[in-house]
Amino acid sequence: MDFSYREKSLIASLGVTLLIFGWYLYGAFSNLSLNPEPPGFVEIIILIIWVAVLESIIQGFLASMKKSQVEDERDKFIEKISYRYSYGFLSACIWFLMVQILLDTWFDNHLMLTTPYGMFHFLLLFFVLSEVIRFGTQLYYYRNGV
């Protein structure tokens, strides 16, 4: 399969996002099912900062490589479509979490999802998934046309 430079850089971004946040979220949700209590505030903050910094450095490097390429109307159009899908997904997820909080309040159920620790990681998961959708949509449209 012949990939353009932009497609390769999108695949790399997608891979980095999946690898770093996938690794972090896998660990977080494994702990969540066993123990809904946070392992320690400082530890979580340090780990999140470490993951975010690592991800930003790699994404920044990939973005600087991409910027050296000329961006035209097709690239902007595909980017716009991908942001629309990503935003739609994220909005739906935020509404889902809001309903969960309301249900939790009304029925006094302490769901794993609505503990502060669980909520934090579900929000992070939804942000990561929306990024994956953004990269995935761009790849799809670069491959199949718009």
Partner: protein
């Protein structure tokens, strides 16, 4: 004329010219006019609406 040469003259990437040729992207009117101007032919000679 090569795809890269046309892309440089029109101000888009080579991939976009390739996508237009393969019918995978419908260019804006501005780009469509620029392409037809490069070939020195009317717009409807280069593009047609399906």
């Amino acid at each position: 004329m090569s795809q890269q040469a046309l892309a440089d003259k029109v101000g888009v990437t080579r991939q976009t010219i390739f996508a237009i040729e393969k019918d995978k992207y419908s260019p804006s009117l501005e780009v469509a006019f620029k392409i037809s101007n490069e070939f020195g032919v009317p717009l409807e000679t280069v593009f047609n609406y399906k």
